[in-house]
Symmetry: C2
Subunit: 337 residues, 2 copies
């Protein structure tokens, strides 16, 4: 590494002096405030150029009471769970939305108690201007921590049993309805569903969408089994469903992972998909294209979730009025239905 200037960064005072104006004048040109003559502006701009000046963030934060940083707080039990492409997508979405602003992203993995206390501290110490949080579990402590902090906050997804002031969520009910209607549309009538945890909002919503669609199509829900959004859970649920409803001809699985598990079991048991039983999943996060057969599924855009959360948060920070957002979903037809 070449020996780079370890010298102090220039300060606003030095810039002002070099430009031959007062510090306030220099500050005004930097902040594009009014009441600056052309001559002053140009002199200051030149000095800034020459000296390579950048306003010190800490000083500015102290003076303006704004840090220019937003936090993304993620609650996850299992450290592995973070490897889920889901989070990568959220982060990608957030980053995209942040890219043409002056805000930066602080990533807070608040799983352990220690992590949560760090987050609490950060918020109360006004280390960030706002928070986006992914609090997926029921009674997630994050929800409380964040609401107590008195900072702008937007939820990704909705917590179970409580409606945050601001959230961005996929249209889970609508998506599940779409999936079910598709199965009805291709002539299936003995449609069962594998749900996620019903004590999560997303699990509940997707189950509701299924029921609504069944009822509206004049069918009665044919059977359900609660699983946990995982491949293994989906496989187990599929087994019990086949056991209880041997005549089933379609299954709506509330996640692609569970659908993959279901497919595996169906394949093992010699039920051909989609001929004997049609399968529709939910998420469309990569795995759907790799199953055998490829999975017909409901697509939700997690990146969009990320960017919309960010936009909403930045709006709130700027003091604008904002409302929560439900993102549309749509069906992607592949081989399984």
């Amino acid at each position: 590494m070449t020996a780079e200037t370890p010298r102090r960064q220039p300060t606003l005072d030095e810039v002002a002096e070099r430009a031959g104006v007062s510090r306030s004048a220099a500050s005004r040109v930097i902040n594009k405030a009014p009441h600056v003559s052309r001559a002053t502006r140009e002199a200051v701009e030149k000095a800034i150029q020459d000296m390579g000046y950048r306003p010190n963030r800490a000083a500015r934060a102290l003076a303006t009471q704004q840090t220019g940083i937003v936090a993304l707080a993620v609650s996850h039990d299992d450290p592995e769970l973070f490897a889920d492409p889901f989070f990568a997508q959220v982060i990608a979405g957030v980053s995209t939305a942040l890219e043409d602003t002056d805000f930066h992203l602080l990533l807070c993995l608040a799983s352990s108690d220690r992590g949560r206390s760090r987050l609490t501290n950060l918020l109360h110490a006004r280390g960030v201007d706002g928070v986006m949080l992914m609090a997926l579990r029921e009674d997630d402590p994050l929800t409380d921590i964040v609401s107590k902090a008195g900072l702008p906050a937007v939820h990704g997804g909705r917590p179970f049993g409580f409606e945050p002031s601001w959230y961005v969520d996929s249209d889970n009910v609508g998506g599940a309805r779409l999936a079910t209607e598709h199965l009805v549309g291709i002539g299936r009538t003995r449609i069962v569903t594998i749900t996620g945890q019903l004590r999560t909002r997303v699990g509940e919503d997707r189950y509701r969408g299924y029921r609504e669609a069944m009822v509206m199509s004049g069918l009665t829900p044919h059977g359900m089994a609660e699983a946990d959004f995982t491949e293994a859970g989906g496989a187990a649920a599929m087994r019990t469903l086949l056991d209880r409803h041997p005549a089933l001809d379609a299954v709506f699985a509330a996640s692609d992972n569970m659908a993959a598990g279901a497919l595996r079991v169906l394949n093992e048991l010699g039920r051909s998909v989609p001929a004997d039983v049609a399968v529709v999943g939910f998420d469309d996060l990569g795995i759907a294209e790799l199953t055998e057969p490829p999975l017909t599924t409901v697509h939700q855009s997690i990146q969009a979730l990320g960017t919309e959360m960010t936009r909403t948060l930045l709006g709130l920070i700027a003091g604008q009025e904002r409302t929560s957002i439900i993102l549309p979903t749509h069906l992607v037809r592949r081989g399984s239905a």
Copy 2:
């Protein structure tokens, strides 16, 4: 959301007043500085408790010239590439190491010009105390940006053709040697290799490990094809290798993705693995367990890479002496060799 105190956070002055001491005294107890009487300390601690005081981060940063934030700068062309479990692992490792410190993690995706200029600004504006960077491409601009900033920095992996002052890297040469030796050990002699880009350090190193092991075993490198670490690239390379060296009996692929591609081609062409040709990969990042047959591969711990980068960086920030680190790798035997 319940209406939470939108009231200002208490300041140190208020704490001091309530405790009946001076601001400096209060500051001392907070920072566990010496020369504080028991009575003073207890009074201040009580006031802090009562008022729920937290030192304001911006103010402290301004006074101490330390932000308590470290950046992880990632250079990626393709936004999708970020979905690579690789990054999730790095982040998980970094977070773990950060968990019992008072530092927070700022995530900087510096792909576009805009992203890079944001990073440059952040560094020069002293928005963070140090940087970890994953600059994987040759001549990655990140390397330059960061070195010019005059901030503690540690590289994850080594850039091509330049040895940073501080880095943490997997033992790619050693790992490749391990893989190749294993193939030799099971009696293979016509061993070919599929390399990553040879204009990246990791590509070069793994190729070198292969050659060294071959030579040391008294064999002559049997053939090589350069690919790009992807599944498709691996498949293409496998085809050309089979074409040029029909008698090959083993292949060392410098990544699991490429190995997966190679396996696919071998399966398609009816060469049985490992009977006809043995395959060893490198990385052990999940996919290795899912191939058919499961992949024998060289394991590297990306989480460890993350935690070691973090520890090194924090050490540098604290002014300690530090040296670069090469992390060990080991062979994981599965079905393919």
